[in-house]
């Protein structure tokens, strides 16, 4: 089983809100000093899912990540968790790509690798939460995709996936190759062991650029972005406390209900 996992460095979602700031003029997040980026937690689930499949039936896990800053750190973590190989995709042409551009870069990389059975991604990146890259990679590669999986098994060459839905879950079976995005309902991600870290620190991680994977310049970078960010700001939340009273609990509840129903979304 040849598994490819796509991961992304993001600003730590557990960052204290006070440290999160944006540059409203440039529409950019200002990374706080001294706070390293981390692997997007949903992508860590994808690595975990790949490891569980490999443990059950063997295989090889190749991890892909795009970017320069922090890409190597999260790649080393994936390798320490137990992935076999990694490739960092780094080229000025890739910078400021949106989800479409990123998916193009990743799909081209998968084509260069050639042999694969399964591609795993997080359901969305924990920074912008767009959740489109996985589906777009599948589209570019013309393979089936299931998003928001909570469990994944491979039985006799068939994927059995339980994915979360609005009202519960749905079970799918599909052939390989395929792409699956993982959701947090999958469970806990392993912490790399000391032995994994020692092994990962020694591994060579190649960097591939645009010419290595043959990306189309018209599909990557800021100029190719389909989405345009109009305004980036930190919303201001105001809290107002109003005590609702009544001569008895029933009257207080009735008044509260009236107030709730009067709130216009």
């Amino acid at each position: 089983m040849e598994i490819i996992v796509c991961i992304k460095p993001v600003l730590d979602p557990d960052l204290p809100p006070a440290k999160f700031t944006v540059d409203g003029k440039k529409n950019e997040v200002i990374p706080p000093e001294g706070v390293p980026f981390v692997m997007s937690p949903y992508d860590a689930l994808a690595v975990e899912a790949a490891l569980r499949i490999k443990e059950a039936q063997g295989g090889k896990i190749t991890v892909l990540t795009q970017g320069t800053k922090y890409a190597e750190e999260i790649m080393r973590k994936a390798l320490a968790m137990g992935a076999d190989e990694g490739v960092i995709l780094s080229d000025p042409a890739f910078e400021d790509s949106d989800g479409f551009g990123t998916a193009h870069v990743l799909a081209q990389t998968v084509k260069k690798i050639g042999k694969f059975d399964l591609i795993l991604c997080g359901r969305q990146a924990a920074d912008w939460d767009a959740g489109v890259v996985g589906s777009l990679i599948a589209e570019y590669l013309n393979i089936p995709v299931v998003i928001r999986a909570k469990s994944i098994e491979v039985l006799d060459g068939v994927l059995k996936i339980e994915r979360i839905s609005t009202n519960g879950s749905e079970v799918f079976e599909l052939g390989l190759p395929a792409l699956v995005t993982l959701s947090s309902e999958m469970g806990q991600v392993r912490i790399p062991s000391g032995w994994g870290i020692i092994s990962a620190a020694k591994k060579q991680v190649p960097k591939w650029g645009a010419t290595d994977i043959g990306t189309d310049p018209s599909q990557t970078g800021a100029a190719a972005a389909v989405n345009r960010l109009v305004k980036l700001y930190v919303p201001v939340y105001e809290r107002k406390c109003e005590m609702v009273t009544g001569k008895d609990p029933a009257e207080a509840a009735a008044r509260l209900t009236e107030k709730i129903l009067a709130i216009k979304p």
Partner: protein
């Protein structure tokens, strides 16, 4: 001194932090309340490789550097000062004495289990009448044929009631003074070896401490660990002091982080209390204590990895960092007002816990005497 951390060191630091957030932080308050913690925690530390950082590869260890162990200890101590200490002392006083002085049989018997966290050691030096004065040890080990016969009592021994084996500092020949001291391994279950817990402690409440009793306890002569003399008995105590210095850094960082957050959020007189100059002074003092302690600890690790004599730096690290922690823990409790007195915040626990390593690992007074002797060339202790 180049203190740029390697990729590996940074990854170990991050891994220890992740482990502590998942396996320690959610439970430590209850452990402290219950005065016990599950042994499973040490097995999990072993599975992560965190108990084998300095252990030989051939027994399942990782054989890494002291600085890595220090960084890991700091991270664990950020969430539970006592666990940071307890984890590190499994290396310093559990694994290192056997890895450095043990026979092939002893290494094979004890090291794999220690590295995996399934075996627990205790290192027994202190006696009712022998604390700082290790030369006053009265526990005897008398050779009788191929066996040592051990008699005596030990007290305030960490892991006394959990240990699968005790490394017992004994006097084998009083006429030889310090040259008669030896460490002898006694497995739990050996006839003549009994133990009792010490309860209702102020600090390190979820860690075991107790007394050991030896009454005509016979062990094979081959259970002796290394040779004779002070060096054979106490060569690994320095490693424990390094662990204390590093754990203190983690706990000071925790005191500072909690205090900064609280002082930014707590409003009094219509302003965050962090806007008051006297509060800022306390924060500034904590920052200075933290930075000084951190660099003292890291430099000590760096020097240990160079295999140079670090007696002076070890005493500075142990003394300074624990004094700094006690200042910072007190300041942090004060800044939190009444909330600081409650275990809603971990500060009262840190404040209590920091008293333990102020006393053990060589008291503050002992380390000042060591530094005085090293600088003056005059030993203050005459016998």
């Amino acid at each position: 001194m180049d203190l740029e951390f390697t990729t590996e060191q940074v990854m170990f630091k991050d891994m220890a932090k992740e482990f502590a957030i998942r396996e320690v932080q959610p439970y430590v308050k209850q452990w402290d309340r219950d005065c016990k913690m599950p042994h499973e925690v040490f097995k999990k530390l072993g599975e992560q490789g965190l108990l084998g950082i300095k252990a030989p590869v051939e027994y399942g260890g990782l054989d890494l550097d002291w600085l890595t162990l220090g960084l890991v200890t700091e991270q664990l101590a950020y969430y539970d000062f006592s666990l940071g200490m307890g984890s590190c002392s499994r290396t310093s006083l559990g694994i290192m004495p056997i890895a450095q002085n043990g026979s092939a049989e002893q290494k094979k018997k004890y090291l794999p289990g220690m590295i995996q966290g399934v075996l627990t050691h205790c290192f027994a030096t202190v006696e009712p009448d022998a604390g700082s004065d290790a030369m006053a040890i009265k526990t005897t080990a008398v050779l009788d044929g191929d066996e040592y016969v051990i008699n005596g009592n030990k007290t305030w021994i960490t892991n006394a009631n959990l240990a699968n084996y005790a490394m017992v500092v004994c006097q084998t020949d009083k006429s030889k003074g310090s040259k008669g001291l030896a460490v002898i391994i006694v497995d739990w279950g050996t006839p003549g070896f009994s133990r009792a817990p010490i309860e209702n402690k102020m600090a390190f409440r979820h860690h075991d401490h107790g007394q050991l009793f030896f009454r005509d306890c016979r062990v094979p002569k081959t259970n002796q660990l290394g040779g004779f003399g002070m060096r054979a008995a106490f060569s690994n105590v320095e490693h424990t002091r390094f662990g204390i210095a590093c754990a203190a850094v983690g706990a000071i960082q925790a005191c500072l982080d909690l205090s900064v957050k609280y002082c930014q959020e707590r409003i009094q007189f219509k302003k965050p209390i962090g806007s008051f100059q006297l509060v800022q002074e306390k924060i500034a003092d904590m920052v200075i204590d933290l930075e000084a302690s951190r660099w003292i600890a890291y430099r000590l690790g760096y020097l240990k990895d160079k295999n140079v004599n670090v007696a002076k730096e070890t005493s500075i690290g142990k003394y300074h960092n624990m004094e700094a922690l006690s200042r910072c823990a007190k300041a942090a409790v004060e800044l939190h007002g009444s909330y600081g007195l409650s275990d809603e915040y971990p500060l009262e626990r840190i404040y209590r816990d920091c008293m333990a390593p102020i006393i053990y690992g060589g008291t503050a007074h002992v380390h000042k005497l060591v530094l005085g002797r090293l600088e003056l060339g005059i030993d203050s202790v005459s016998r």
